[in-house]
């Protein structure tokens, strides 16, 4: 199922059929005859047939209605908060993080730590960056506060691990440089609102 379908699962637009349930018998004789009728009618077989029909449809006619997790996964909302990703600038391929430390500051479970330094290009370089996922509560504050949309929540929600705490380093979360073209822009919590341009006053420029 694609994201479009997923979003358009609006049950209200489908056709409903009202079941003919008949009258509830009132006399003792009527009740008795209903019991007899229901007992000897082959509804059990009808039910089994429905199951059989659906199985055949699913297996051989490609009309499967369930998701084959873990081989198949449902798309999740961009607002879902799973394991973090570090994004790169699309043009230069340089990582977006400027080392401002706001994520470290805002983190309510104190699981982000970073070291920065003055590099050879007179820029602030992030020399170390780590998130302790054993402590992270996936609140999304880091992604919301990030001024560069550098740290975002990705869709990787399977974070069961053999150890209680697992640390992640900057490189682990960073978009691999060879997969830069596959990097998705983040739409989730903290992303720029669609009408952001209307909300800012433009600064005059003399050049």
């Amino acid at each position: 199922m694609g994201l479009e379908q997923f979003k358009n699962r609006n049950v209200g637009q489908q056709k409903y059929v009202k079941l003919e349930l008949g009258q509830t018998p009132e006399t003792p004789m009527g009740k008795f005859s209903q019991v007899l009728r229901r007992t000897f009618k082959p509804e059990l077989i009808i039910g089994l047939w429905v199951t059989m029909r659906e199985m055949i449809n699913a297996l051989f006619k490609g009309q499967m209605h369930t998701v084959k997790y873990p081989f198949e996964k449902l798309p999740i909302s961009p607002r879902y908060r799973a394991i973090h990703e570090m994004l790169r600038l699309l043009e230069s391929g340089h990582y977006r993080c400027i080392g401002c430390g706001l994520c470290e500051k805002i983190c309510i479970s104190n699981c982000i730590t970073m070291d920065t330094r003055y590099d050879e290009n007179q820029r602030k370089e992030v020399s170390e960056y780590t998130i302790n996922f054993g402590r992270c509560i996936f609140c999304g504050y880091c992604a919301e506060v990030c001024p560069e949309l550098a740290i975002v929540h990705g869709p990787r929600y399977e974070n069961a691990s053999e150890q209680r705490a697992s640390f992640s380093l900057f490189e682990d979360m960073l978009t691999p440089i060879d997969k830069l073209n596959l990097q998705q822009e983040y739409d989730g919590f903290g992303a720029v609102s669609p009408n952001a341009d209307e909300n800012i006053k433009k600064t005059p420029l003399a050049y």
Binding site: G101, E104, T203, P204, A206
Partner: protein, 825 residues
């Protein structure tokens, strides 16, 4: 501070309808700040002259627009902080400051402590109306510690102001930026002050004032402290930490006797190393100025793994059999009291050469002056308008004494006399009215007699002193040529009428004249022309009301110290000059007051941060480790006669002196429990350590610890002796003096202090000496590198004493000057 709180010199002013009291003659801005009223201002620094660079402090006083930093309060003045016009000016000024300011707040080292950011928000600048093409501005490293990002600079000139008015180096100044000129149309459309401010801003940028890319200064880093934006930072700190991550530990700087208020700012070392580390030192820069050692010499901590029990037991044994404990003054009052207790209980000798000399000097002074301590502190010196310095290498001995000397010249239109044998070319640049006496070594008494002669009320002087002073005066007759206007009468015939007329004209004529000139032999003895000095001195004395004298270490280590101390007492009794003394090392004053010190080291010696048979050391090289000053709590007695608290910035896992005390003689639980027991009879208070404050009030009043009581004591009748010509030294002389940012082993351990141990010499002398020399003191000699100091002048060289292992104190003995033989190696 007490005399200004009197009712007479307070005036009543009204700010925004509310009545306040302010000191007479104070700037409106300072008066408002003292009363907790907020007036926006960026460029003003409390103890420096107003620069009028930002113009934000515009207020309306009695209906006229004035700059609050530059206008003084008057009785009954009515001040309005905000008027519609002023608000428009301020908003335009902040918009201008934001023009082309790089939007790199995310990485900027100011990290939210930015005044530009604060005022932009305060004045609600949410849009920009002005624009100008940007100029390329380079990032530069001015020195081994200073980092300047011109792009972020808003040219508020606070750095240049503090460097000139407080520090005295004047190492940086505004220079041409080469920016485009403003669009003419702005002149009509913009508020007036905002336009003027922008016009100036667009033309200037900060650069080293010597025209090179590097500053020639003492690397105090005060410019980085006052910078309101992230333009000026310490090189080592750039991009290493955000301000909010750092935990501030209020403390007292432990390098010199100034005992400045500082904050150690610490956080974990890195992602993988969670042990804490000090990242930088900051200060309340409006009220206190640090030196390079205080600001950059912070990482001298002694990291130990844990308690070394074997070493501890050895230390207990060593102290039990010790005959002498040798220590220096980088020690808290509490520790000094512990050592004194050991002396009382175990009978050990306490030897500390710097504090001993000062203790003797202070004792001689108190006996003559009738008070336990000197009269002035250095805050009071700063408030005077005539300052004299005797026996202190002002540039090297104590930064805050030098700042006070300089500040008097700059802020109080002051004058100064500087007596010192070692030539210095920085001191004369502090002001126009400074006379520098580079006298011969040993003539400090003559300097004091000259002060007596110049300032004393002759009626009060004892007869013998009066006649002694007179004996230096000689009168000679001198022929001087003088221009005299002479009346010449001529008879002139009027051309039109033909009448004869008598016309009187004035014609200049040179006349030789005999004048009697009084020559002062003292001035000549100290190496200056008597006539020239007299004329100069008369100029210096104009409009001077308050006089102070700074007295330094040379006098304590003088073979005539006792007579000198008496002379100083006599100066205080007979002249309006008040004296402030510079204790030689960090806590020399505290040690001198608390401990009974001995002169000679005998027998088995335990050294505390000093040489000895058994060494307790905070330097990490001793037999038992001790906590360094940034790892322990306690109090220090500084030269402002104040007992100030210091706190532990970093964890210390080993044993401290109090643990030894517990085993040896019994002691309270904590080191700071001793604070209560400091000797009240010496001027200390029985105060609880945790109750001691460490800060400043808004009006600049120091609220740190407590002031020592200056206890009146019995005076003895005393007489001063004449100058002892025998103490005069001539020939090859070495002076015991540290380079500017070095004070002790601890400053030397810090990684941002680069001044090396060696023999400092003026450029000419350094060239003559070569690279490495052997200095022969007679009984011993030392081989050292020669280091050029371009601020020094003359032939006297300075040997640093900050390395205790070199035992420079031992080499020099009881004097700061020694006649030596220097050989090239």
């Amino acid at each position: 501070m007490s005399e200004v709180k009197t009712v007479e010199n307070m005036v009543t002013i009204t700010i925004d309808g509310k009545t306040y009291h302010a000191k007479e003659g104070e700037y409106i801005l300072n008066a408002a700040r003292a009363n907790d009223v907020f007036i926006p201002a960026i460029c003003y620094l409390t103890r420096c002259s107003p620069t009028l660079a930002c113009r934000l402090c515009l207020v309306e006083a009695d209906g006229k627009q004035v700059y609050a930093c530059n206008a003084k309060v008057k009785e009954g003045m009515e001040i309005t902080v905000d008027t519609p016009n002023i608000l428009a000016e301020r908003r335009a000024i902040m918009e201008v400051y934001d023009v082309n300011h790089p939007l790199q707040c995310g990485v900027c080292d100011k990290s939210g402590e930015c005044e530009l950011q604060n005022y932009t928000l305060e004045l609600a600048v949410d849009s920009q109306t002005y624009a100008i093409p940007d100029t390329k501005r380079e990032v530069k490293n001015w020195s081994s510690v200073l980092h300047y990002d011109a792009g972020l600079c808003i040219v508020c000139e606070r750095c240049t102001t503090v460097c000139k008015d407080m520090i005295g180096d004047a190492a940086i100044s505004t220079t041409k930026r080469g920016g485009e000129s403003l669009d003419k149309a702005y002149k009509e459309t913009m508020p007036k002050d905002a336009y003027a401010m922008w016009n100036k801003l667009q033309k200037s940028i900060i650069a080293p004032s010597n025209g090179t890319d590097f500053t020639d200064c003492s690397d105090c880093g005060e410019c980085t402290a006052v910078c309101p934006v992230g333009a000026l930072t310490g090189r080592d700190f750039v991009y290493t930490s955000n301000a909010w991550e750092l935990e501030r530990v209020p403390a007292t700087c432990a390098h010199c006797s100034s005992g400045c208020q500082i904050y150690y700012e610490k956080k974990h070392t890195s992602v993988s190393d969670r042990s804490e580390k000090i990242y930088r030192v900051t200060n309340e820069w409006n009220y206190v100025s640090l030196c390079g050692a205080g600001r950059y010499g912070y990482d001298f901590e002694n990291r130990v793994e844990g308690k070394d029990e074997a070493a501890f037991n050895a230390a207990v044994e060593a102290l039990k059999k010790a005959e002498t404990i040798r220590f220096n003054s980088v020690i808290t009052n509490e520790e000094a009291l512990m050592l004194q207790t050991l002396k009382e209980k175990l009978g050990v000798k306490l030897v500390n050469p710097d504090a001993r000399a000062f203790q003797k000097f202070l004792a001689s002074y108190s006996k003559a002056a009738g008070q336990s301590l000197y009269s002035y502190d250095f805050k009071q010196v700063m408030a005077t308008d005539f300052v004299i310095s005797v026996g202190a290498a002002l540039r090297n001995d104590n930064p805050n004494a030098r700042y006070a000397f300089n500040n008097v010249q700059k802020m109080n239109k002051g004058a100064g006399l500087y007596f010192h044998p070692v030539g210095d070319n920085l001191v004369p640049t502090f002001g126009k009215n400074i006379e520098v006496f580079t006298h011969k070594v040993g003539l400090e008494e003559a300097a004091l007699y000259l002060v007596l002669d110049l300032f004393a009320d002759k009626e009060k002087l004892p007869e013998d002193v009066k006649s002694y002073l007179e004996s230096f005066k000689t009168t000679t007759t001198k022929t001087v040529k003088e221009k005299v206007m002479k009346d010449v009468t001529e008879t002139v015939i009027d051309e039109e009428t033909g009448e004869e007329k008598e016309v009187t004209k004035k014609v200049p004529e040179m006349v030789e004249k005999e004048v009697t000139v009084e020559k002062n032999g003292l001035v000549e003895l100290l190496g200056k022309e008597s006539d020239a000095f007299d004329a100069e001195f008369e100029k210096m004395m104009k409009k001077k009301e308050r006089f102070s004298m700074i007295v330094g270490e040379d006098l304590y280590f003088h073979n005539r110290a006792e007579n000198i101390a008496k002379l100083i007492a006599l100066i205080e009794q007979t002249t309006p000059v008040r004296v402030a003394m510079i204790p030689p090392k960090t806590n020399s004053l505290g040690v001198a007051l608390i401990c009974d010190l001995d002169d000679e080291v005998t027998g088995y010696t335990v050294g505390y941060n000093e040489n000895g048979d058994f060494r307790l050391s905070a330097l990490g090289d001793g037999d038992l480790d001790m906590p360094a000053m940034n790892q322990q709590e306690g109090t220090l007695t500084n030269m402002h006669k104040r007992v100030t608290p210091t706190n532990a910035a970093l964890e210390y896992k080993g044993y401290e002196l109090n643990d030894l005390m517990k085993v040896l003689v019994g002691a309270p639980e904590l080191t700071v429990d001793w604070t209560r027991s400091l000797p009240v009879e010496k001027g200390f208070q029985s105060a609880v350590f945790d109750d001691l404050p460490n800060g400043y009030f808004n009006d600049g009043t120091e609220n740190r610890g407590y002031a020592l009581n200056n206890i009146a004591c019995d005076t003895e009748a005393f007489s001063v002796e004449p100058i002892d010509e025998k103490s005069l030294l001539e020939g090859e002389i070495v002076y015991r003096c540290n380079p500017q940012r070095q004070f002790n082993d601890f400053s030397n351990k810090a990684h941002e202090i680069f001044e090396a141990f060696g023999l400092y010499a003026s450029p000419a002398k350094a060239e003559a000496l070569g690279e490495r020399v052997e200095i022969d003191f007679g009984d011993r000699s030392i081989v050292v590198d020669v280091i050029e100091d371009d601020r020094m002048e003359g032939d006297i060289t300075s040997l640093a004493d900050f390395k205790s292992e070199e035992d420079v104190y031992g080499l020099f003995g009881k004097s700061r000057y020694r006649k030596v033989t220097i050989r090239k190696v």
